[in-house]
Symmetry: C2
Subunit: 426 residues, 2 copies
Amino acid sequence: ENLSTLTNKYGEEGDQLMFKILKRGEKLAKELEEGKIKNENELTDLALRYDLTVPLARVVANYKNDLPKFFKRYQIQPVWRADRPARGRYREFYQCDVDAIGSNSMIVEAELCSAVSEILERLGFEDFEIKLNHRQILQSILDKKIRPEKQKEVITIIDKLDKIKVEGVLSNLIEIGVSEESAKSLAYLFTKLEELYKEAQEGYLSRKEKLEHWNSALVELVTKKVESHDQGKVGLQQIRQIREYAFKHSVTDRIRFDVSLARGLSYYTGAIFEVVLTNGDFSGSIAGGGRYDGLIGMFGKEEIPAVGFSLGLERILLIMEERGMFPDDLTTNAADVLVTVWNEESAGESLKLANELRQKDLRVMVYPQADKLGKQFKYADQIDVEYVCVLGESELAENTVQVKNMKTGEQENVGRDKLSKEHFSS
Amino acid sequence: ENLSTLTNKYGEEGDQLMFKILKRGEKLAKELEEGKIKNENELTDLALRYDLTVPLARVVANYKNDLPKFFKRYQIQPVWRADRPARGRYREFYQCDVDAIGSNSMIVEAELCSAVSEILERLGFEDFEIKLNHRQILQSILDKKIRPEKQKEVITIIDKLDKIKVEGVLSNLIEIGVSEESAKSLAYLFTKLEELYKEAQEGYLSRKEKLEHWNSALVELVTKKVESHDQGKVGLQQIRQIREYAFKHSVTDRIRFDVSLARGLSYYTGAIFEVVLTNGDFSGSIAGGGRYDGLIGMFGKEEIPAVGFSLGLERILLIMEERGMFPDDLTTNAADVLVTVWNEESAGESLKLANELRQKDLRVMVYPQADKLGKQFKYADQIDVEYVCVLGESELAENTVQVKNMKTGEQENVGRDKLSKEHFSS
C-alpha cells in the first residue's frame, strides 16, 4: 500500500511496527551520496499491509459507486508487523477477515459474532468466548479520569492488561503521566472486575449460566458508570442489543461482556470483540474485530459505517495442531501408490503406468529416477505410501505389474489392463 | 526474507526490481540525522520475496535432514517485483509453484510438464504450448560468440525477444558491447528460427503434426550447432529425453522446442520452460520454470538438484475472465435468499429465521437494518438474489413467511415450520 494510506490509522504502535519499503531508483542513491536525506520519511513511499481493514476501507471509499449499498466480503491474505516473534506471533501472518459495510444496525455485529462462532465450532473449538466491549463505554470511563489527548495511549496500555496484569497497567499509566489517583482508580476497576469474574465462576452452574451471571453483574456495574455520559449510555444500549440479537443466533453463551477489553487499533468507534480460549493453553486472542464507522471517511468524502472481524490463521492452526484437532483425512500421506522405475529406458513406461492409474482417480507418485528396487521400497516407507507398483524387467515383458502392500508385505501380480482402484485399498 | 538470501540469485534485473524493507528503530534515525549513511545497502536488511523458488531453496538447504530424499511441494503465495505495471503484470502477484527436489533424471521435467499441462487443460485452456529449451544449448551457442562474463546479460536480452523482436535484440546486444558480427550472427539465428516456424505452420497438417515437424527441424538444426560442445550435446540429449518421457505422459503435442527461449532468471542450469497461449489475445507467458541444480548449494554445503514450474495466477484469471472460461457455478450470486427486517424489535426474529434456513443448507443473507420493504426488494435485485423471505408484522403474528421469487414476482405464504429448500428453487 502507499505509505500514506496506512499511517495514522492504527495508532502510534501501528506506525512503529509497520514494515516500510525503501524507495527505488537512481535519484535515491544520488541524494544519499550527497547526504541530503536526514529523515526516514524521505526514504520510503510504500509499506506492507498492517491489516486487511485499512486497505478495504480505501477500496470501499474509491469504488463506492461500483459496490452494492451493503457490501460484505471475506478475504484471507498475509499482513506484516515488525513485532518480536513469539509462539503464534509471526512477522508475516495470515488474517481471515469478514466485514460488513454500510449499516449502523447491531444486526451486523450479531451476524459477525455468529459467523465467527460457527467457523470456530466447525473447526472443533469448544472452549472459546467472544469478549465484547464498546469504545464509547471505555471512553465514558476514561473521560472522568484521563485528558482526551492521553486517552488513545491509555487504551493501548489497557489492551495489554492480559499480558502485564493490573500492576503493569498501573505502573505504565503512571509512567506516561496519568495522575496516581486516576491510575489507581482504573486499576481498582480492573481488580474489581477480576473479583466479579471469579465470583461468577464459582458454584455448580453450567458454563452458560455462569456467563449469564457474569454478564448481568457487569451490566449492572457499567450502568452506574455510564449514567451521566450520553455516549456511554448509547454504548451500553448497543451491547444489550448485540446480546439480544446474538441470542436469536444462539451464540449468546459465547459472548462475555468485558469492560476491560480495549483493542490496540485506534480506528474502532463502537463495539469491539476479541475471541479467547478458556482452556489455558493459549493466552493471546485468536480473533478480534469491531465497528469502525470513521475509517472509510478518512479516504473519501462520505462517512460509511462498517464492522469487521478477523481470525488469526497461524494461531488457530498452531492450537489445532497442538490439540490434535485436525481430522484424520486431512493428514494424508503424499500418495496412494508409488510406481517404481526399473531403468532409464523403461522410465517412460513407468510414467505411462502412473498416468493410467491417475485416470482411475488414484494419487500416484513416480520414483523420480532409476534406482535399486530396495531403495525404492525404502523411500515408499519413508514417505508413508501404502502401495508400490513394481514395473521391472519381467513385468514389462509380461505386461503385468507387481502390486506390493507395504504394511502387510503381500504381493500380487496383476495384468496391466486389469488394474483397478481395488488393488490399492486394504 | 533476509536481503542476503535474495540478492545475487536472480541476476542484475532481479536485484534491481526487488522491493527492499527499510531498517527499523532509533539507530537508523540517528545515523540518518548525522548523515552517516551514504549507501542504500546500509538502510535495508529485508526484502520481499521475488519468487517462491529461492525461499524454497533456502528452506531445503536448512531442513535437509528433516525432508525425504525426494521432496515435492506445491505453494501458492504472493511475490513482489518493482516492475512497471501492465495488463496481467502487477507489482504484487500470486505464483503457483510446484517443485521436485533431489533427482537428476528428466523424469521430473516430464512430470512437471505433465502436471502443468493437466492443470491448464482442466481449467479449459486449449491453445497453450510449453516452450522448451536448455541453458546448456543456449550456452553452447553463446560460447562461440560472446565472452563468458557477458553471457548472463545477453541471456536477459534474448529473454525479451518476444517483446522487442529480432531488431531490438540486435540493437541491445550492440549497445552492451557485443561485436556487430556476433550480434548479427545471433540475430540471424533468431530470424531463421522464425522462418522455420512459419514454414512448419504451413500446409494441411494437424496442430500436433505441425509441432512434430517443427521440433524435428529444430533438433536437426541444433544438432549441428552443439556437435563440438560437450555440454551442449548433453543439453540436446536431455531435451530428447524430456520429449520422449512427455510422450508417454501424452503431453508431447504441447511441447515446442525453442532454442530462442532464454528465461530471465539466472539460477537455471538445465532445461527451461515457458507456457504461452497461441490464440494471440495474450502475448506474455502464463507459466515458466526450469532446472536449478546450483541454487540449493548456495545456501548449504551440498549441491541438490531441483526442478520447478510456476503458474502466474492473475494472468490466468485475467485470460479466463476475458475469454469467459469460468464455469457458471463459480460466478454465483451472494446468497440464495434475503431475509427482510421489519423493524428493530423484530430483527432478532429475522436473524433466527436466517439461522433456521442456514440449517437447511441455504445461503442466507439478512438485510442488515430495518427499512422500507420496497428498498429491501430493490437491494435483493441489485445483488442478484433470487428469493426474498418477507417477515413482516402479519407473518410474525401468524408464524409464517412470505416467499417471493424476484424473477417471476410470484409470492407464496408458507408456515415457518414448513419451510424447506424446495421453496427456494425454481
